[in-house]
């Protein structure tokens, strides 16, 4: 008896603390914030409200100040759901997050871009030049283009701006010679800000960010959220929410969610196995 009590107490001591959703609170839904916190919230709050209402699973937006911090929150297990592509590195892949859906679209590509008026026309011209990247967690905003430069043997001076739009800001204002960017993000930025750019290099397509569920999220909740996400583009109300959300970000077309699985993101996993970019604990 004493032994059982001692084991229970030990168990109590070593057992991880209960997560929020495990205590009846709403499920934190993290979003890898490529944009500002407020824009991200403006986009996702209506979606999450609709999904919550549709699925019956209460979701609350949870984002950190930067994408890296958001990823760190996911790594720390503070998020039940997360919209990201940072979790396919070998180390994070082991956290157990499961892909339940992804944002529809043709996929994302990494690009090395320069301003349209730049005299630089080849990657080789970037040798020794400063090239901006989003942050060391970014896939298409850091790993893919930087990997391409490294594999091409072009030594550049990488400048980490914090986010992709910050990197684009440096490029626009001539602080750097080129930038490694997500093709979709820079296209949206260019359309919104009227910035003309030229692509020096472009990667193969990768699926856009996935909606992933923490392994502790009950299967029912996971399924309900997945169903709601997939139904959103066909439901009139969901379409309206998507359209309004897209309008806030001045996106050309609303983008709904489609079904996806972990296998769909093996390309990410293979990239990380071959990349020359140092992962340094990711």
């Amino acid at each position: 008896m004493i032994r059982r009590l001692a084991l229970f107490l030990l168990a109590l001591c070593v057992a991880p603390p209960l997560l929020a959703w495990q205590t009846g609170g709403p499920y934190p839904f993290g979003v890898l914030n490529h944009r500002s916190v407020t824009l991200t919230a403006e986009y996702w709050n209506p979606i999450l409200a609709w999904v919550s209402a549709r699925s019956g699973v209460p979701l609350t937006l949870k984002i950190a100040r930067t994408a890296n911090e958001t990823t760190d929150m996911a790594v720390r297990g503070e998020l039940a759901f997360v919209y990201t592509n940072h979790l396919f590195t070998p180390q994070r892949d082991r956290l157990g997050f499961t892909v339940i859906a992804r944002q529809e679209g043709e996929g994302i590509r990494g690009q090395v871009v320069v301003p349209a008026a730049s005299p630089i026309t080849r990657l080789e011209d970037l040798a020794g030049q400063a090239v901006a990247f989003a942050n060391p967690y970014g896939f298409t905003g850091y790993f893919v283009p930087y990997d391409a430069l490294l594999k091409a043997g072009i030594e550049v001076q990488p400048v980490l701006a914090g986010s992709q739009e910050a990197a684009m800001g440096l490029l626009r204002h001539g602080k750097v010679a080129a930038a490694g960017v997500n093709h979709q993000v820079i296209a949206d930025y260019s359309r919104r800000e009227g910035f003309a750019y030229r692509v020096l290099w472009e990667s193969q397509p990768y699926y856009d960010l996935a909606v992933m569920a923490h392994p502790t999220v009950p299967a029912a909740a996971r399924a309900a959220v997945r169903a709601a996400l997939l139904a959103m583009k066909t439901d009139p109300q969901g379409q309206r929410v998507l359209a309004e959300a897209a309008a806030r970000l001045k996106l050309p077309v609303p983008r709904g969610f489609v079904a996806a699985s972990d296998r769909d993101y093996d390309a990410y996993r293979r990239f990380f196995q071959q990349t020359r970019v140092p992962l340094e604990g990711q």
Partner: protein
């Protein structure tokens, strides 16, 4: 109040009005501004609070989305520290964040806050992102935020208003200074004008407004007009004063009561009153008038016109009694003086001193009937006396009166040799001499009247005198004149006289008496002078003389009735060489239609000075004929009297007539008798020279009838000599005439002068003339006189 306002100057009124308007505007502006400030301040405060809430919400949004309440709290505190709001609270899911601003130090005074009355405003703002609510902000904004701004605004407005007021004050001062200075100058000019010391040209300050300039111009114009009127009045006054002082008449002006207001110097002299003393005295005292006959005061004419209000009154003769008692004959007139509106102002009395005029009238009357040289009655007086005697004869036919026409002989000799002054002296002596010889009249008889008829002719009217006595009286006078010796310049002269006596007969007129006496006197002269002849009806010579006299009366009537005619008689060359021409003759046609001889007519015309008129008539008549008969190219000889060539204007008459009628001067030859030339030899020379220069020829007529013909022939440069008919008429039978005519013809040939013989009445005479060598002949044997035939009646 009105009295107080009435005493305020224009400047005070303007300033008071301006201040009143400013104060009222400020009070009203303040009230309205306060209300507006309260309303606008409340709205502004609410807006500020709402804006602050929105700003705070935006500030907090990101922190709240991230769930970073620590950062949110810090942001709220920082926002509160900036003083945008007084207090703020964020409430979300039971969490509350509060931030409070540090105590403020309002810049506005407390009274202003109390006056504006703004209250603390609470604003609420919900923080939502993407339709998710992250919290609710409630914040308050203290009113001093707006109050401070209002206070600052009020300060700026007050400063601007003060500056504007100062500017307005300066502007008003300048405007008032300019305008009031101009007004003061206009007022000063008006006062000066009112005080009679007008100044021309009001000098306004620069930039004076046009109204003042117009007022000044109007005042200047008024001044100029008044000045001109004053000058005009002064001029008029001076003119009238000078006029009144200059006129000889006494002028006295009175008021409507007849009291003297003005006297001119002539009035002072006439009345013996000094004008200053006479002022306000009654007119009847200053200028008392009395009747000329009875020496009694008469109603004063000036008082009469004042009383009767008749415009003027002329009373004629009266006597003015002066202060010295003298009585002066005056003629007076009085007239009313009325104002422009017709009101009676007074009257004016004009007195004319008649003393001199009456003396002058008496002298004129005397001169009118007396000869100024001798003092004897003149011709008019004598004629009047004869006329009166003739009238008496009608009532007293038994009475016998005689008239003697006395003509001095040789008087011309004294006049020509000793001058007219001596002649006048002689006439006076003769007059006195005859006057002394006049008989004394009977006690109840009328004294004889001796008068001067003119020149050296005297008339004596003897009353109640028979023919014999009259002749004796005439003879006595002749003897007395002959006995009188006149001495002048060491020379002695004894004159004679011829007297014609005519008895007055009832029913005859004065002219007849004078003419008969004149004719008798003329007859006495022809009978040897120094004798008296009685006019008798049957005496032929005297009758002829009478006919001449009658012509005088007929001449004008014949002219008026067109009874004078032009005739002509051809003058032919004796030896066939030369060109015939005509002599123009004047013929009167009597009442019976008969053409008569002009001899008595011409003699009368010559004697009584009417010859020049006849000569001019003949000349113009002839020129009219020649103008109207261009086919007649003959030359014409025209006779002129001595009186005509003595007329200095006649030369111009000839020139003008020749020019007017377009007659070549060479066709005209003027014939002058020796008598005419002797009448005034100088005038004759001048006339002949002028005619020769003109181109006319000159013929010396009746040559040989005078004793000095050859002397005249020497100096007159005649182109033709007409031998007196007395030498031609009996040429065929009188050897002496033959010799004379031959001599004259020889002289003519020697001097290159053509000769003409008149009165050629038979062939024997013509033959003699041809034998002698006379150039031209004229007479009934050669051509009977014929009348001119005029184309137009009266032409």
């Amino acid at each position: 109040m009105k009295r107080l306002i009435a005493h305020l100057s224009l400047r005070t009124r303007l300033i008071a009005a301006l201040l009143g308007v400013l104060v009222a505007a400020m009070v009203l502006g303040g009230i309205y501004s306060l209300k507006a400030a309260r309303q606008v301040g409340s709205q502004a405060l609410a807006q500020i609070a709402q804006r602050e809430a929105q700003v705070l919400a935006l500030t907090l949004t990101e922190a709240l989305v991230l769930g970073d309440y620590t950062a949110a709290g810090e942001l709220m505190r920082r926002a509160a520290a900036q003083g945008g709001f007084a207090w703020a609270r964020l409430a979300e899911n039971g969490q509350t964040l509060v931030a409070e601003a540090p105590p403020a130090s309002p810049k506005r005074p407390a009274w202003f806050a109390a006056l504006v009355g703004l209250e603390t405003v609470v604003a609420r703002q919900s923080i939502e992102v993407g339709e998710r609510r992250y919290g609710r902000i409630e914040l308050t904004v203290a009113p001093h935020v707006v109050e401070d701004r209002l206070w600052a605004l009020l300060g700026r407005i007050a400063t601007s208003a003060l500056a504007a007021s100062l500017l307005l004050a300066v502007l008003m001062y300048w405007i008032m200074r300019v305008n009031l200075l101009g007004l003061q100058r206009i007022a000063a000019a008006g006062n000066a004008l009112a005080q009679g010391k007008p100044e021309s040209g009001i000098r306004l300050p620069p930039h004076a407004p046009p109204e003042l300039a117009a007022a000044a111009q109007a005042l200047d114009a008024a001044y100029a007009r008044i000045q001109a009127q004053i000058e005009q009045l002064a001029t008029e006054k001076e003119r009238w004063q000078v006029t009144l002082e200059a006129i000889a008449d006494a002028v006295i002006v009175t008021d409507a009561d007849g009291r003297v207001r003005f006297m001119n110097p002539a009035a002072e002299r006439l009345t013996d009153w000094d004008a200053a003393q006479a002022r306000d005295q009654p007119i009847e005292v200053v200028a008392p008038l009395i009747d000329e006959t009875h020496r009694q005061p008469i109603p004063h004419p000036l008082l009469q016109v004042l009383r009767e209000e008749v415009q003027d009154k002329t009373l004629g003769q009266a006597l003015l009694r002066t202060t010295s008692g003298a009585e002066i004959a005056v003629s007076d007139s009085a007239a009313l003086i009325r104002a422009d509106d017709g009101g009676l102002c007074g009257a004016v009395l004009v007195l004319h001193d008649e003393t001199e005029r009456r003396a002058l009238l008496a002298e004129l009357r005397r001169l009118a009937f007396h000869d100024p040289l001798t003092g004897l009655p003149n011709r008019r007086a004598l004629e009047g006396r004869i006329e009166r005697a003739l009238r008496q004869l009608k009532a007293q036919p038994h009475r016998r009166h005689a008239f003697c026409y006395i003509d001095l002989d040789q008087f011309k000799l004294v006049n020509d040799t000793c001058g007219h002054a001596a002649g006048d002296e002689l006439l006076v002596e003769i007059g006195q001499l005859m006057q002394a010889r006049l008989p004394d009249p009977a006690s109840d008889g009328e004294p004889p009247v001796l008068g001067r008829l003119g020149g050296d002719e005297f008339g004596l009217l003897l009353f109640d005198t028979e023919v014999e006595a009259a002749l004796q009286m005439a003879t006595a006078i002749i003897e007395a004149i002959r006995a009188h010796t006149y001495r002048h310049g060491g020379r002695s002269f004894n004159l004679g006289a011829s007297v014609g006596v005519a008895m007055l007969q009832a029913g005859e007129d004065t002219g007849h008496i004078l003419a008969r006496a004149d004719a008798a006197c003329y007859f006495a002269k022809r009978r040897g002078r120094n004798r008296a002849e009685l006019w008798r009806q049957e005496h032929a010579a005297i009758q002829a003389q009478g006919e001449e006299m009658e012509w005088i009366g007929r001449l004008e009537r014949y002219f008026a009735e067109g009874r004078f005619e032009l005739w002509r008689q051809r003058i032919l060359p004796v030896n066939g060489s030369g060109e015939a021409y005509y002599e123009v003759l004047l013929r009167p046609r009597n009442e019976q239609g008969e053409v008569s001889s002009p001899s008595s007519l011409l003699t009368a015309a010559e004697r009584y000075g009417l010859a020049p008129s006849l000569d001019r008539w003949v000349l113009r008549r002839l020129f009219a004929y020649l103008r109207d008969h261009p086919e007649d190219t003959a030359h014409y000889a025209v006779n002129l009297s001595g009186q005509t060539i003595s007329d200095p204007l006649f030369i111009d008459v000839v020139k003008e007539s020749l020019k007017t009628f377009g007659i070549p001067p060479q066709r005209i030859l003027f014939e002058l008798t020796e008598t005419a030339v002797v009448h005034d030899i100088d005038a004759a020379r001048h006339f002949i020279a002028a005619m020769r220069e003109l181109g006319c020829a000159f013929c010396l007529d009746d040559f040989g009838s005078g004793l000095s013909s050859f002397a005249y022939l020497k100096g007159l440069e005649a182109s033709t000599l007409e031998i007196d008919g007395a030498f031609v008429r009996n040429l065929d039978s009188e050897p002496l005439d033959y010799v004379i005519v031959n001599a004259i013809a020889q002289i003519g040939r020697d001097l290159g002068i053509k000769t003409v013989a008149e009165f050629v009445e038979n062939a024997a005479i013509l033959e003699k003339l041809r034998e002698i060598g006379v150039d031209y002949a004229q007479g009934y044997h050669l051509h009977q006189p014929e009348p001119f035939v005029f184309q137009r009646a009266g032409g």
